[in-house]
Structure formats: C-alpha cells, structure tokens
C-alpha cells in the first residue's frame, strides 16, 4: 500500500479537526451547538476506518511511522474515548456558551496527537505527536476563561508540561547521540555495546519525562491540581486517553529501542510502579472533591499499568492493553457521572452526592460499577485485567510486587466505598428532585456500563485480541 493510503486514518482526523474549525467560523456564534454532533459523527466514521487496518503491519517514510496491530488497537481506544467524551460534553460546552467550535476541533487535534504517539516509529515523530497532544491540552485545560482555578491549572500545566518535555527531549537527544539514529527500530542495533553511562543517563531522562506524562509518583504532583481545575470533559479525556497514549509510546520505546538496557530500566520502573501504587491509593483516602479523588485513583492505576512493563513479556504487554481499555471505560463512566452531576448542581464535592441513588438510579449505578471495576472486584472487567497484570509479574518472579498491588487494591476499595456509601446510604437533600438526564449522557453511561460488565463476564474475545496484538509486538 502507498504511504497516503496507510495514513488515511490520520489524514481523515486532521481534515475533521480543520473542518470543524472552518465550520465554526462560517456558522453564526449562537448556532454552533451542532458542531458537537458533527465532531461525534466524524469521529465515528474515523473509528469505522480503523477497522480496515486491524491486521496491517507496515512502516512508512523510512520507519518514521509504524502502522501495526499494536498502534491500531490504541488508535481505536483513543477514538472510542474521544467519541464518548464528545457525546457527554454536549451540555457542558453549551453551558460554557463561547468558543464551542474550537472545543471540539481542539479535542480532535489532541486525538490526532495521541494517534501519532501510538504509531511513532521515530524519536522525532514521537516528540511531534507528544507536543501536538500536550499543547492542545494546555489550551483545553484553561478553557473556562472566567474561572480562576481553570486558568491556574492551565498555567501550571504549561510550565510543568514544558519542563517534562525538555527533560524527555534531552534524554532522546542523548540516546540519539549514542546510537546514531532516531529510528526506534534501529536504536537497539546502535546500542549493542553494553550499558554505557551516557545511554543510562538518556534512559533515565526518558523515564522521568514519560513519568510526568503518565503521572507516575514521584512525578505526579501536577495531576490532581490540573484535573480539578480543568473543565470536567477535558479532565476525563486527559485522565484516560492521554495517559494511555503515554503508555503506548513508553512501551514501544523501552521494549523496541532499549532492550539492551532492560536490566537497568526494569529496576527503575519497578520502584516507580511500587511508589505510584502506594502513593496514589493512600493519598486518595482523605480527598473530599470527586475530581481529586479520581485523579489520585488514576495515579494509582498508572502504577498498575507499569506492572505490565516490569513483567517485560508478551503477557505483560497484553495485560497493559487490556487494562488500559478497561481503565478508559471505567474512568469515562465515572467522569460522565461527574459531568452530569455538575451540570445539574454545579458541585464536585463528594458530600453533595448524598442520596444520589434515589435522585438518579442510573448515575449511581454507573458510578458504582465504574468504581468497583477500577478497584478490581469480580465480575467486573477491572478484576480480569488486574488478574492478568498480577499473573504477568508473578510469572517473572516479582511476587512481592503482586502482593503489594493486591494490598493496595484493598486500600482502594475503602475510598471507592466511601463514595458509594454517600450515594446509597445518604439521604437526598430536602428540596431535591429526581434528575432527568439528557439522551447523550444516558447513552454514554449505558455504553461504559455495558463494556465494564461485558468484558468482566466474558473477557475471552478481548483477551485473545490483546494477546495476539502483544505477541506480534513482542516477538521474544
């Protein structure tokens, strides 16, 4: 196939993003709600296009860009997340009342950046995708221009994002300096002389840079503030898709480009994952704001995803794929409830969720299932994916890490149950009435609930897919 036809998905996404911007310019300001529907429709078409590429294994532009089942899996994940976020943000964006076209255009651009990150076969295209995603998120984070918290979150994200990019870039340049190539597939050949100090330094910088992007402790401190300040749909997208994109690129870089340093990076990743899991779960306990609670819980989830990298096996990569999909849907379910609740009440405090089960049984049920899935309770999908992650590391002999993960999962059940207790045991406020949800929010809620339940009860199709993708990606 020619390069252009292999890049159809990316080109279509770019055309969609620019098209949305242009339509936003042509349509009068008060009639721009329709752009949200157009964005969703366009994203669904792009998603359908990706189905044609499930078995393609090709590289274009001399290895700069890779289209393989691994990247296509992640692209479908990002697109599914983008579709759900855009559907659930219709009302939120309408309430904002300004720059509605740009919101969706920026979201599609961020998706494009994530796709490039998953497909990057070269350090340059990797960095390009990363910046396209991150810079778009700077703007989206500060989208509520009259809200002090949102502006603060935006500025914090700019400064810390720029710093982490600089660190990452320094690491990439050192690796390029030692290996003499920027093509990820050829770096391993250039680094075959054992661990040199310069290579190790480059690897450490890369791990720190990506540690920021996937918010692994001790590089997590930006995420709670930014998750709290950003508009909730943006937080949802930032928490799920950008983290999955970071993992997609990190796994490719470490496994394909730096296998010769595996004995060194596995120690660092192990320490990072243990710290992240402990820190994320314990600090989530005293939180009173639901967005901050979900932020710390997603820090903890990043720690579990790092387990798959510690395992350094096909099963580990498969477990990362499986868990990132489950994590995306469970988190999106929880965030959609937060968006809908905020639209109705204007509050993100956990204590205001009191008696939600009686005001809106659907919202409470989705929150319940999503949180339990994140905690890893059977028969929900989170249990299956955590089971694979722990199996993968036990296979490699890291039994203590698996025990730590299981222990911390129990800690996580505690703070998830606090939210559930408030929703189900609490009394609704005196003057409250049942909440009517718009169809778009209902559709998102049902979709996320269905995925969490279906893949928990019948995980075989997804397991087979994840394993076959991981085996193609991880040939040894």
């Amino acid at each position: 196939m020619s390069a252009v036809s292999l890049l159809t998905i990316e080109i279509a996404t770019a055309i969609l993003a620019i098209g949305l911007l242009v339509i936003g310019l042509i349509v009068p300001k008060d009639q721009r709600q329709g752009i949200g529907y157009l964005a969703t429709f366009g994203l669904i078409i792009v998603f359908a296009l990706t189905l044609l590429y499930t078995n393609v294994q090709e590289t274009v532009f001399n290895g700069m860009y890779i289209i393989d089942p691994y990247s296509t899996f992640f692209k479908q994940l990002f697109l599914a997340a983008a579709i759900l976020v855009s559907v659930s943000s219709f009302d939120y964006v309408k309430r904002l009342g300004y720059n509605q076209g740009e919101f969706y255009s920026l979201m599609v651009f961020a998706t494009l950046g994530m796709m490039m990150l998953a497909s990057a076969g070269d350090l340059i295209s990797l960095y390009l995708g990363l910046e396209l995603m991150t810079i778009t998120f700077f703007v989206l984070t500060a989208y509520r221009k009259n809200d002090f918290k949102s502006s603060e979150a935006g500025i914090k994200y700019v400064i810390l994002g720029a710093m982490s990019s600089a660190i990452l870039l320094y690491g990439l340049s050192l690796i390029y300096g030692v290996s003499g190539t920027t093509v990820i597939g050829e770096i391993a050949k250039g680094l075959n002389q054992g661990a040199q100090p310069l290579e190790l330094l480059g690897m450490i910088f890369i791990l720190v840079g990506f540690g920021f992007k996937v918010s692994a402790a001790p590089f997590h401190m930006w995420s709670p503030d930014i998750y709290e300040g950003a508009p909730t749909p943006v937080t949802a997208f930032l928490a799920v898709a950008s983290k999955a994109a970071g993992f997609a690129a990190l796994v490719r870089l470490l496994v394909i480009a730096l296998p010769s340093l595996q004995s060194s990076w596995v120690v660092i990743v192990m320490v990072l994952s243990a710290l992240t899991v402990i820190f994320g779960n314990f600090v989530a306990i005293p939180q009173t704001n639901i967005k901050r609670l979900l932020a710390y819980s997603s820090i903890a989830q990043a720690g579990y995803l790092l387990f798959g990298l510690v395992a350094y096996s096909a099963l580990g990569v498969a477990a990362i794929l499986f868990h990132s999909l489950l994590y995306v849907f469970a988190n999106l379910g929880a965030f959609t409830v937060v968006i809908a609740f905020y639209n109705k009440t204007g509050s993100d405090e956990i204590k205001d969720y009191t008696g939600l089960a009686r005001r809106s049984p659907l919202m409470a049920a989705v929150m319940l299932l999503s949180l339990l899935s994140l905690a890893g309770i059977p028969p929900l999908a989170g249990f299956v994916s955590k089971f694979y992650l722990f199996t993968a590391i036990i296979d490699q002999g890291y039994i203590w890490l698996a025990f730590l993960g299981i222990g911390m999962s129990m800690v996580s059940v505690y703070y998830y149950l606090i939210v559930i207790k408030v929703m189900y045991m609490g009394e609704p406020p005196e003057d409250s009435e049942p909440m009517k949800l718009p169809v778009s929010i209902q559709a998102t809620l049902y979709a996320t609930m269905l995925v969490s339940l279906f893949f928990g009860i019948y995980p075989a199709p997804l397991t087979d897919l994840a394993l076959s993708v991981a085996k193609a990606f991880f040939p040894f």
Binding site: I18, L21, V22, L25
Partner: protein, 118 residues
C-alpha cells in the same frame, strides 16, 4: 576510555578554578575608589522608569504569534522554491495544502479579532 574521561574532568576543574584565580588577582592588585555611579548595576540602553512588573497589551502576543507562523512558513517555502523545477507537481500540491492550512489559521485569527488593535 577512563583516561579520556579523566582528561575531561581535569579540563572542567581548570575551567572552574581559572576564573576564580583571575578575579582574585584583579581584586588584590586593583585600586579601590568606589563611587555611587560605579556601584550601580551595569545596564545598557535607556534607564528603566518605574517598576518593570507592569501589564501590557495581550495584542502584542497575538501579533507575535501570527508573525511567527508566517515567518516559519518562509523557512519551508524557500528551499521548495529553489528546487521547484525538479520537484514537480506533487510538491506543488503539497505546498498548496500546507499554505491552505496556514491560511485557515490566519482566517481564524482574523475572524476572532486578533488583528484588531483595541
């Protein structure tokens, strides 16, 4: 291998110590006759008036950003123009797409009022 690094280490050491020696020597031998004019911070250009922490118009940033877009465009246009005859139709179409994307950006900035000096 180790010797090479040792050479660099000694070089660093000398580089760190040498300016100190120079400054110390100058401090020992120079005459000391301070005056307020000499003690003030060295600055070139005009003297600053008032506090430097003032707000200034955000429009400057918008103009600068739009300028940078078209400034960088020239960097890509120039080599393309030099080799135009040997590149053919495909490169022409590519460049048209590239400029079209930038023009959409300018259109957006214009329509949103970034070019108006308020």
């Amino acid at each position: 291998m180790q010797q090479d690094y040792a050479g660099i280490g000694i070089f660093f050491l000398i580089a760190a110590v040498f300016p100190m020696i120079v400054l110390a020597t100058a401090w020992l031998v120079r005459p000391k006759r301070p005056s307020p004019e000499k003690l003030s911070t060295y600055e070139c250009g005009l003297e600053t008036q008032g506090s430097t922490w003032v707000q200034f118009k955000i429009s400057y940033f918008l103009y600068a950003l739009i300028f940078v877009v078209f400034d960088v465009e020239t960097v890509f246009l120039y080599p393309w123009a030099v080799r135009f005859s040997s590149l053919g139709l495909f490169a022409f179409v590519e460049m048209v797409i590239f400029i079209a994307i930038l023009v959409i950006g300018l259109w957006y900035a214009w329509k949103e009022g970034a070019l108006e000096w308020m």
